[in-house]
Amino acid sequence: MARSLTKRLVSGVVPAVPFLWLVVLFLVPFLIVLKISLSDPVVAQPPYTPVFDWSDIGGFFGKLDLENFEMLVEDGIYLDATLSSVRIAGISTLLLLIVGFPIAYAMARAPVRHRPLLIALIILPFWTSFLIRIYAWVAILKPEGLLNQALMGIGLIHDPIIILNTEAAVYIGIVYAYLPFMVLPLYASLERMDNTLIEAALDLGCPPWRAFWAITVPLAMPGVIAGSLLCFIPAVGEFVIPDLLGGSETLMIGRQLWSEFFSNRDWPLASAVAILLLIILVVPIVIYRDVEARRLETQR
């Protein structure tokens, strides 16, 4: 009896742990941010009204409004920043795919005994702080930086190229920083692929490059989608890379959020931007789930 009780307890508690985690660390903070986004800014501590008061619940809800969201729509800068973020994240994801696929493919084709080392090498950069690695790129990309010195040293160019504080620097930074998130899911799906499928394609008269497009790429699709989402989603909200490498010209929603929050101290507006960002990012996830569900459906 005691055993079945323990069993029932375990089977009840175990699924509750992730739920509790999500409720405490995601749902509750989200509701707080949502509430702040519906409030008005004020120069006080905390910098928003109304503050929750048990004695006046009716008045509390009455004072909430959508003013901040109206502001987001009316002021063009938020829409521009959003579109610019999506564009930069989209181009970055494409670049990551182009760079990451050959790496993942080579890893999956490497002798089995070398693979753990290759995976370790891909993960190795995480041993150093993200922030420090991005700062290092400032030293590489600045006009008198390592890259320009090297290029001028070998006589390829005579004047330094301006890379730092341009969008190009942001792409370099994102591709560099996010590469493991693209390579690892791609590797996982390519490594699982049975090489005799390629042999079968060759045997049926399909030259290698065509077999790559007809067999390898479609079978790597789950990895392509997972890797793209893992890179696209955080890239849209990226703050550190555009702030350090992108200069003032690069418009991204993450930076906008930061300046509303810390420079303007307009917490309600910043919260509204955060909610907007969340909505933008929920869309691709829902689309992905929908596509995946339909794929599984047709295969059943």
Partner: protein, 386 residues
């Protein structure tokens, strides 16, 4: 005494281009060697395979049979020697330009394509018109009886259905040669037996050359016109199933194909065209009718006798009976159709004797620990020179 080769085994059909010196082989392996580093997978092997032949490469794992097939498909290149197909030297010809198609052991069906797309894949590579592709796919689906499953995906099929799709896909391009790598290995016993006959029917209907790699001797015996038994990268014997079974050239073949009892002995001499051989198993010399062997007195030989070619009985054989040995029943295995007796001789050797269970009830059957007498005819055994 006339040679017995022609009367041996069941004759399936009168088809034997290999015994016609004028016949031109479709596939020729000429002194082919394949090395992987220091390991020799195929060792200076020569072999001819003829058009419309159902040819089996049989051998234990690691004997080089799969390497031989992969060289024919183009996935491996010979280290030395030459392979020709229909007169064309295959050296340097990539797999996608060879007129041979392969059915893989794992089937290697494309998981992201439906059954019909899988079958159409090879035809599409040839750039055939859409209508022709559709017609051929329909024809193939009918051939393997999968019309109703055309839209399914491989992971929605049973093992037997997948095997059929793999076969249809490999047949769709009507290759000169169809290569089958352990085609029935993943099927259960019942299905395997049915499929063996289906494969034979399909091969007969299409008149295509089939080359099958298998480690299952029963499968090879059932299906093949000829079998090449391979061992350590070399061919031990190429012959019809009947010859392989009844006239194995070496002890390895005798032991690998079917069950066999081996008695070691020494040749005494020849009497009336029959060999007299002295063994530990029998107090009197054994008499063996194997006129093809050229032996000399005192030579060490092995005598191979199949279990079903010996007679087991309780009473002693009449005096003067050739090849009679006495022993004790050590074990009895009842298999339904057959009963297998393991009989321990006075010399310590254990012989396997099998007897068909022709009637349902036997009064007073032979029991454990009983003394029994085994006899066999002089032509039931084969002499294998060591």
């Amino acid at each position: 005494m006339p040679p017995k080769t022609s009367s041996v085994g069941a004759v399936r059909r009168t088809f034997s281009p290999w015994s016609d010196p004028a016949a031109v082989p479709l596939i020729r392996f000429e002194n082919v060697t394949k090395r992987f580093g220091d390991a020799v997978a195929v060792d200076n092997l020569s072999l001819n395979i003829y058009e419309s032949e159902f040819f089996c490469l049989l051998g234990p794992s690691g004997c080089g049979k799969t390497t031989l097939m992969r060289m024919l498909a183009g996935f491996e290149e010979p280290t030395e020697g030459r392979i020709t197909l229909a007169g064309q030297d295959l050296a340097g010809v990539p797999p996608y330009r060879r007129p041979a198609n392969m059915m893989f052991q794992s089937y290697a069906l494309f998981p992201h394509m439906s059954v019909e797309k899988n079958i159409a894949f090879g035809l599409k590579q040839d750039g055939l018109p859409k209508a022709d592709i559709a017609a051929r796919v329909d024809e193939m689906l009918r051939l393997v009886q999968l019309e109703r499953l055309a839209k399914r995906y491989p992971d929605q099929l049973s093992g037997g259905q997948r095997q059929r799709v793999a076969l249809a896909r490999a047949l769709a391009k009507r290759p000169k040669v169809l290569l089958l790598d352990e085609p029935l290995g993943a099927l259960d016993k019942k299905l395997r037996e049915e499929t063996q006959f289906e494969l034979m029917d399909i091969q007969h209907e299409l008149g295509m050359t089939f080359v099958v790699v298998t480690h299952d001797q029963e499968e090879a015996m059932t299906m093949a016109d000829r079998i090449a038994v391979m061992d350590h990268g070399r061919i031990a014997q190429v012959a019809t199933p009947g010859e392989i079974y009844e006239q194995p050239k070496t002890r390895f073949i005798a032991e690998f194909v079917g069950d066999v009892n081996i008695l070691e002995g020494k040749v005494i001499g020849q009497e009336n065209g029959l060999w007299r051989v002295e063994t530990a198993a029998s107090p009197t010399p054994l008499t063996i009718d194997d006129p093809d062997e050229v032996l000399h007195a005192g030579q060490a030989v092995a005598i191979a006798i199949r279990p079903e070619k010996m007679v087991i009985r309780r009473g002693a054989a009449a005096p003067g009976t050739q090849n009679a040995v006495t022993g004790e029943v050590w074990d009895i295995g009842y298999l339904g159709d057959w009963t297998v007796y393991r009989v321990k001789l006075a010399s310590g050797e254990i012989l396997r004797v099998s007897r068909a269970n022709a009637s349902r009830f036997v009064e007073n059957p032979i029991d454990w620990d009983e003394e029994v007498h085994l006899t066999f005819a002089p032509d039931a055994a084969v002499i294998l020179a060591e």
